[in-house]
Each structure stands twice: as C-alpha cells, then as structure tokens.
Symmetry: C2
Subunit: 251 residues, 2 copies
C-alpha cells in the first residue's frame, strides 16, 4: 500500500508543511515517491524511485519555494510493479489540452480493464493501467471539453467499476479541480479563516498558518491518514467521491 | 530563438558539464528552461519559466547526480507564446507506452497544421503545436509499435513539411533514440575512447573525461552551437535528420 496527499487552494499555496508530514511516513513506504504541482495550466512533476526520506530530490523539493493551486503527492510501498522510475506515482497524461495527474493507493489485484484508446501505461503497475483506463473512458464519454460538474458525473459512473475490483483510493486532478475517491482510507481537512497553529503527527514541526495567510484564503488537504492531530479531519466514507475547487468541498 | 542540448549515451551518463555550458548562455535566453532525463522507460522532466541562470531549480538540478541514457534540454527566448510554465520546453506526451520528449528552436510563424488526433497543446507556442502534430502523424502512420528505423523513415517524410514553413531545429526522443533535425543551426559531437579533456566555451569549467569513463563508453552530444572550443563538432546541414543510438550516429 501507499500514502496519498492532495492539496487544493484558491491562491497559490506552499504545501511543504504537509509534504514534510507525508515524507516522515516514508520509512514504511520506501519504494519511491512523487509530487505534482499545478501552476495554472502548467505542471511540474517530480518522481523518484528512492524513498522520500533519503531522496536528494525530496530534499531539494522541500527547500524549493513552489506555490501551487493543486498538488498531488504519493509515497510508494510496491505491491504490483517493480521499484522503478516509470512505476513511481503520480502519473500524468494530456487530455483536451490539459495535463491530468493521478495517484493511487490500493491494489486492483488481477483487474486489467481493456485499453483500446490513446492511453497506454509506460510502467507495469495496476495503478497506471487504471489511470490510463480512466483517461480513455473520460475521452470516450465527452465529445468536447466537459465542465467540472460533467466530469464529476462521469467519474461517479466509472470509479465504482474500479472500486468493485479491489482497493482504489485515488487522487485525480486536471489543475482546475481535485477529485478524491475513497475506497478504504482517505481523510480531508478544510483550512479557512480564522487560521490557527498546527503541528505534524509524525514530525517535530509546527506552523502558525495565521502568519502565512490572508482571511480570504481557503485550503483543502486530503491525506490517507490525518497529518495533524489537532485539526478537524473528516474521513471519507468508502465508495464516495469528493470534489474540491478553490479550496472548498463542492461535491 | 532558443538553444538546444541533447545527449545520447550507451551507459547512464552525467550531462551536467554540458548543461552548465548551456546554462551559461541563458543570459540571452532568459524566458525559461527545461531538461528531460530518460532512465530506461522512465522520465524525469524539469521545466521552469525562470532563466536557467537564476533558477533555484536549475541550481538543484546541477547539484543532483542524475545519470541518463538520453537527455534533452532547452533554454528559451520567447518568440511565440508568453513566458509561462506550460510554454517551457521540452514537451512530453505518451505514445505506444513510451514517453516522447521534444524541444524546438526556431519559429513556425503562422503555420498551425490541423490537430484531429489525441494530442493537444496545453500552452500556446508554435513549438508545442508542432510537437503534438508530429505525435499525431507518427500515431497515424503506424498501426503497431514501429522500430527505430521505421520511425526514422516516417520522420524523414514529416519533418520537411515543418522545415518548409519556418525555422525548425528539433530534438526528439522516446528514450531509445535521439533524433536531431537541423533547420539552421545544430551541431553534434561524438565522444569515445580515447577520452580527453575539454573546457567550456562560455564558462570557466573543464573536465577530463578520461577520469570519468570506461573505454567502451560512447556519448553523442548535440547542441545549437558547439559547447567546447577544442573538440571536433560537426555541423548538421540544413534539412538533415541525424539519429543517435547507444552514443553513436546511426543515420
């Protein structure tokens, strides 16, 4: 299994406090990591087959002041597919002139839905295969660029087919919205005014968000397990799809 | 205009000496940079809308010991498309279960070939539009995964159509081969045993390759302008396509 981290905000936001919390869990999830930052339509995608705890790249990312509206990060404990760069999540493809990014926690066992469209896995994980199938089915379902609401309706039809075949916790984004599908463990947290202080559950790190935010800022965080012990995380019920835009839960 | 750097080797090779030489030219090409590293089928793609001379990311990459069989790098001087993350080369798409990477130096003026396939630009440069068209036409030309020789034949048909519409110096790779198409300025260099010392034309940096290589190593470097003044760079004639595999010129 793996661990997921997602962030969606209404202003470009630094996610390094949360990423530090995720990285602290890399001891048990040492088989690679990745983090994708959307900046408008642009995408920075960092992947590494090394543990986020030891990786030179992870250290560089933590020092690098990237502010983003949507982030998806993943630390890997390999279940299917060897430890390799091409098997490190998140995966990315272009559809309708937008980059799409997905990361998966779980195991689809032997389920390999047919791929007859324009998306093929590069590596050999069940996760990338499922991501390519989702891209293929989204492309088939819409003859022109759909709205976020239309995409959400299509995903509500597609995701139960994966959920029925194994464990499929998913974070997915096109840079406009963050979709979070819970199969077993996925929690979210909404930060908004009044902002307070928080400390990480797994690391000796605290931050007072009041000093780094404006009253209009809104930030949604999604994680496999709550990253902070003193904030009101909400568990997503198995089989549900949550949609975040502008730092708010919209569906 | 921009500047290009490509590398292809028969063993995973550190390209930082050459990237330092390219970065030294970023003063005149300050509108972003990017560098793509293939490691087997896996890909690391770093892009930044900041100058390679000042970018925190460029500094981190220079310190990070990445060894790769194929590298494509680009420093940008914007001609079409604003300075933005999504307009920073190289661009990447997946085709036939392989990542493809392309970077362009030149200007296609008003030429926008029709895009009716599975590849759409995310940004607004002529370069990404042409790259998506190339991916589309490669996909149409082959009903199953072609060999490198077959791909080269198809590219020899496609590239003159872009070359005829403006300036189109291109570096393209799927991680197996490096294709270099010259429209105006593109030079290559083959390094092999006996390896010697080299110094950069634009930076106070020297390296003795004899100390970092084995006799069986072979490395091909492609660059807009020769990076070193004391090595036998070969200019590619306008309209020619060179193909590099395992550090050797194969076509």
């Amino acid at each position: 299994m793996c661990q997921l981290l997602g962030m969606n905000a209404n202003v470009p936001t630094d996610v390094m406090f949360s990423f530090a919390g995720l990285s602290a869990r890399a001891g048990e999830h040492p088989d690679g990591f990745g983090i994708a930052f959307f900046e408008g339509k642009g995408l920075r995608l960092f992947v590494d087959p090394n543990s986020a705890k030891d990786s030179v790249l992870a250290e560089a990312i933590k020092r690098y002041p990237i502010r983003s509206e949507v982030v998806i990060a993943h630390i890997r404990k390999a279940t299917q597919g060897r430890v390799a760069l091409e098997n490190s999540h998140p995966f990315s493809r272009e559809l309708w002139g937008r980059y799409w990014v997905g990361a998966h926690n779980g195991d689809l066992k032997t389920f390999r839905p047919p791929l007859h469209g324009a998306f093929r896995p590069v590596g050999d994980t069940d996760s990338e295969h499922a991501f390519c199938w989702l891209m293929q089915e989204l492309a088939k379902a819409h003859c022109r660029v759909p709205s976020i609401d239309e995409l959400t309706l299509t995903l509500r039809e597609l995701l139960p087919r994966l959920h029925a075949q194994g464990t499929f916790n998913l974070l997915l984004s096109n840079g406009e919205a963050l979709w979070a599908h819970a199969s077993t463990n996925l929690h979210y947290l909404l930060r908004a005014d009044p902002f307070g202080a928080a400390r990480l559950a797994d690391d000796d790190l605290s931050v007072d968000f009041a000093q780094h935010t404006r009253p209009s800022d809104r930030v949604a965080i999604v994680a496999t397990e709550p990253l902070t012990p003193d904030e009101p995380w909400v568990r997503l019920a198995p089989g549900t799809l949550a949609v975040f835009r502008q730092g708010q839960l919209v569906a």
